[in-house]
Each structure stands twice: as structure tokens, then as C-alpha cells.
Symmetry: C2
Subunit: 349 residues, 2 copies
């Protein structure tokens, strides 16, 4: 029941193994005829080279990894698809690895790179700062994406790439828009402020906006989600909003750090017998497709997912092939004004 190997093919064709290998890898110095003969047998047999043996031998193992923190966020699925497809066009194998919220994505990468001889890594989600010492140990080029950007870092000497929107600025933009609508008491549903996450950047953007408009910061209006398996979930948005609504602080708008949280928050508002946006405006962040189907359509910051994925994966591959250096790319995001926000009405008690 042993799988057929390159030897079997060689024997079958009456040639040496190296000739088969050459046929397999489009090597130049091989007689087109023998090549065709061999490929025919390969097709008939359905032979597929053993990946382990290949990677073991090859100096360039032709595989990259996508390390995703937060699979259940639909935000990532498109990006994953685009990146996988691109890798395939480069004849690379993609290893897709999920990371639980309590796992350290850098440790996972460290392990994976050794296990699988990766040629490159994309981190999706997770924290935006990491232990540099550990990062240095990753023996392959890597890029971060959708984990936030820090504009000030752009000039620093960089040895890995980052591609993201300017979360702090975009977040500030969104909250400023709410303020412009007359909202003064704006609640925030946030991922949690302990970690250096995008959540924190968006939180800072929120504070920036308040400060710029001379609105005092009220920490009672900041609600962290449950330290759950998955911070960005509808359930967390729901629970956090419920706590806010049952609290004593009054507010006329909620800024949720992700659309998926906003959807949960809307549900909590409805369950309270209130209307969005009439009683409370609810805005999100990310621009997931669902936001356009939800009722009301979600006002949000739309991240350019497709473009980020494309630019990111192209960048990684040009770094791998030595064609380009690492870069720090800040993508533009778009403020989508839709139905879940409106002018502030009287703040509820």
C-alpha cells in the first residue's frame, strides 16, 4: 500500500530518478520528448511528489504561513482567500494557522518556521507590538497586517513590514463625525486596554476626538468586553452594550471598535425597546459586508480589505524574492455614513 515514488516513475519510464525530477521541476536541460513521456506517465499514475521530502531537501521550501488571530471575525475570510490564491499563483503552499486569543502568535510563528521551513509569514490580527528579541528569532521575512499602524514609526529602520490603516486617526475621524452630529456623551465598547492591540489604538483615537472638541473624558462610558475566547463577537458587543444601558451614565451614541460588536450592541438597544439611531446612534469599524445588510445599515470605517490583502501578499513575495525591501504601508480608510447614526436627540437618563 506504499505510495508511488519518483523511483517507481523512473523505473516505469526506463529513466533515472533525476530525469524525472527534472521533468517535474521544469528544468531546462532535458529532452522535450523524454520530458513529455515522463509527464504522461505521471498524469496517468496520478503521482504527486511527497511534500515532506521536497521541503526537507529544498533550500527554498516554497511555503508561507498565514497566522490568523480571530478566525470568527468575517473580516479576515476575504483576506485569507486573496492571499492563498496569490501564493498559489507563485506555486507556493499556504499553511493556514489559527491562533487562540490566549496564544502568543510570535511563539506560534517561531515554531512553525522551524517545523516547516517557511519562506515567509503573514500575521493577521493580534497585537501590534511584540518582543523584538523574539521577533528577531523568526528566521523568515514576515509582515503584519490589520493590527494597526503607528504613523510615527514610518521613518524607523524596519526589518519587517506592516500594512494597515491608521487606526488611531480613523477612529478619531469617526468619533469627530459623531461629535459633529451633536453627540456629547459617546460610549465606547472596546476590546480591552491591557494589550497593545488595535483596540487600544482605536481607544486613543476616541480620546483624541474628545480632546480636540473639548469634551471631558468619562471613563464610565468606556466599556471593555468580557475577556472571552474571542473579544470581537456579537455576544460581547451585546453584553457590553447591555451593561452600558443598565448603567447610570447617559449617552446618545456608542462607538464599537468592530462592526461585529456594533451588531451585538444594536441588538441590546433594540431589546431595551429603543431605536437606532433615533434614541442611540451605533457606529462600528471595519466595514464588513454584513454592515450593509443589517438594519439599520451600519455607519462605520471601511478598511480596504482587498487592497490590503493584495498589497500585503505582493509585498511579502517581493521581499522573499529579494526584489524589494520591507515597508511600512498605511492604507486609506473610508468613513461610510449610513443609517445607524443620526443627529443627537435628548440623552436618555
Amino acid at each position: 500500500m506504499a505510495e508511488t515514488t519518483i523511483k517507481d516513475i523512473a523505473k516505469e519510464c526506463g529513466v533515472g530518478v533525476s530525469t524525472v525530477s527534472r521533468a517535474l521541476n521544469n528544468h531546462p536541460d532535458i529532452n522535450p520528448e523524454t520530458r513529455e513521456k515522463i509527464m504522461k506517465v505521471i498524469r496517468e499514475t496520478g503521482f504527486v511528489p511527497n511534500n515532506s521530502a521536497r521541503n526537507l531537501k529544498r533550500s527554498d521550501a516554497r511555503s508561507i504561513a498565514l497566522i490568523v488571530k480571530g478566525i470568527s471575525n468575517p473580516f479576515f475570510s476575504d483576506m485569507i482567500r486573496i492571499m492563498e490564491n496569490y501564493a498559489q499563483t507563485q506555486r507556493y503552499t499556504t499553511i493556514l494557522r489559527h491562533v487562540e486569543p490566549d496564544e502568543d502568535e510570535v511563539n506560534v510563528a517561531l515554531q512553525l518556521v522551524k517545523e516547516c521551513r517557511l519562506r515567509g509569514i503573514v500575521f493577521l490580527g493580534g497585537n501590534f507590538t511584540h518582543d523584538n528579541k523574539k521577533l528577531k528569532l523568526i528566521n523568515a521575512p514576515f509582515i503584519f497586517t490589520t493590527i494597526g499602524s503607528i504613523a510615527g514609526d514610518a521613518h524607523k529602520k524596519i526589518w519587517y513590514s506592516n500594512i494597515a490603516v491608521d487606526d488611531r486617526a480613523e477612529s478619531c475621524k469617526l468619533v469627530s463625525y459623531l461629535i459633529g452630529l451633536g453627540h456629547r456623551n459617546i460610549a465606547l465598547i472596546t476590546e480591552g486596554l491591557g494589550e497593545p492591540s488595535v483596540g487600544k489604538l482605536r481607544y486613543e483615537g476616541y480620546r483624541d476626538a474628545l480632546e480636540q472638541h473639548g469634551i471631558p473624558f468619562d471613563e464610565k462610558l468606556v466599556m471593555e468586553v468580557d475577556q472571552d475566547r474571542e473579544p470581537y463577537s456579537m455576544k460581547n458587543g451585546y453584553n457590553a452594550a447591555k451593561r452600558l444601558l443598565n448603567g447610570e451614565s447617559k449617552f446618545t451614541a456608542i462607538f464599537c471598535e468592530a462592526d461585529i460588536l456594533a451588531i451585538g450592541a444594536c441588538r441590546a438597544v433594540f431589546d431595551k425597546g429603543l431605536k437606532v439611531p433615533h434614541d442611540i446612534s451605533v457606529v462600528g469599524y471595519d466595514g464588513i459586508e454584513m454592515g450593509n445588510y443589517y438594519r439599520p445599515r451600519l455607519t462605520t470605517i471601511k478598511q480596504p480589505v482587498e487592497e490590503m490583502a493584495e498589497e500585503g501578499i505582493e509585498l511579502l513575495f517581493s521581499v522573499i524574492s529579494g526584489k524589494s525591501e520591507h515597508r511600512n504601508i498605511i492604507m486609506p480608510a473610508e468613513l461610510l455614513l449610513r443609517e445607524s447614526s443620526s443627529e443627537a436627540n435628548e440623552a436618555r437618563e
Copy 2:
């Protein structure tokens, strides 16, 4: 820049490579002291054995694959997580592979099994019948899940597993419920009837229900989604519903073969200035979390995702370890009566 290998560790510890290997794999015949000494060095070095070399040599490669058709359906993310976690507890590596709608999942499996020496495969999504000849070529135990069940097959001699709900019966149950509410003109938004997919089973359940209640079948009320990249998407639900609404046939309810389609369909109804369920009832299938946050909450058939994932992966592993035979498991589904369905009002023209 070469990675550290088992040899380096051996040299460092002043022992042979086989001793290191024994320490690494919890072999019985090794002195606990030397074992501890070696493990200490391994921890300090951060050494990780090369997976390719391992799989190459090992008879039991300790890896399984999850082959997923339709990543963007949030329905699958929970299942994937549960299965990955379970595999990890068995110290197995999980290879997650997405399949595009136009790819053949069996071909992918065939290739993967050879490339990676898989010990088992889970198919999520995709068609429910396949070329048996090809299936026989898959050199590893495999199970299908969420691709529909055919009750009549239960007695057949089986050499692979299937775990799913009885899509036809559940679908019939749901449509019968609508009929019970007084609906006579019930539209169907379906995946497409060319392929032997769950879509087809649900379509048959729809027809069963009509027939049982003596309602004539009207093919004008059956709307196939666009042959898109991804059949189950909100966009497809939206477009299909729009075509129905702009058509000449009248109806008071729409049965969508997936919740994600139903959400799109609701949006189309709203855009037309109509109300769900007052003017048109919209029901879905799957029981995704979003259905409970949407407004109105979706009436649907809830598949027991967690249980299916758990039972499925456990079954696969017990087949792998020879502890059990392949089985054909039909899971119970639940009819969730929520807000998107109500008694039929006058059919719109």
C-alpha cells in the same frame, strides 16, 4: 543561518542523536536524568524538530486535513475551531485547506494525501455524492460533514463516514411550518440544482412539503442564485430575492437555503419598501449566530454545529486508531421559530 538540528542538541548534551529523539518522543527506555538534561537544553535553545523530516520518516505522520468548501460561510468557523483543537489534544497537526467552488474537493484530497501523508480527512461542505472510483483512491480514512444525509443509505455497507442532519426532512419540516401559517405561495432561493449538493436536498424537502399539503409546484417561484464565486453569500440572496420581487409571480414567503442568503433576501425586501414578516415571511437554514442578532430574528433550522464537529472529529480519530468503524450519523436539527415568519397576509401582486 542554518537551523539547529537534533545533531546540535546531541553534541551540546554529549549524547547520541537517538537519545535526543527518545527524549523528544517520550520513549520509555531512557534514563529520566538524561532525559531531563536533554529537555532542558531543548527548552533553552528553543529547538523544534523539523516537521518534514519527521513526516518523511514516520510511519504515522500525525496529521489530518480539514478540506473546506465555502470559507466565507460563518457556519464553518466554529466547526473548524473545534476540530483543530481536538486534533491538537491528540498531538496531531491540522492542515486547513480551502477549496474554491469550481475545484473538486476529492482531487484536492487526493493530492494532499500524497503530499502530506495524511492520516485522516474531514470534508466540510461540498457535494454529497462523488465518484466512488476516485474516493477509493484516497489512501486515508475520511468523513464528510454538513453535506447532507440520505436516510436510505444508512444500511449500506460504508467505508467512509458521513455526519449531517437530514436536510431533506428538515427542509420539509420548515416549509410545512410555513404552510401551516397559511402560506400557499412560497418562493425558494436555492443554490442551484445541477450539482448533488445540500441545496438539492433542501429543494427536494421543499417539494415534499408542497406535495404533502397538496400545493402545486410552481417553478417560477424557484430562484437559483448566480453562479458566483461563492453560492452562499448575502449578495446572492439579495440578487435572487430582487429577481423574485421584480417578477410577476406573487408569494407571501421565501425559503432561503441558508441563513446567509436569508439575510440578503431580507435586505431586498426592505429595499422594496416591504416589511418582514408582515408582507413577506423570510426563513433561512443553518442557525448561524447572526440570525439571532438580525432584525427581525431569523426563523430557521438550526444545525447542531458544535455537536456535529465534536462527534465528527472524535469519530475520525477513533477510525484512525482502529477503535471503531465508519458510521453514518444523522444529527437532529431544530426548528427555531423566531420573528421573520408570521401568518400569511394577502399575497402581493
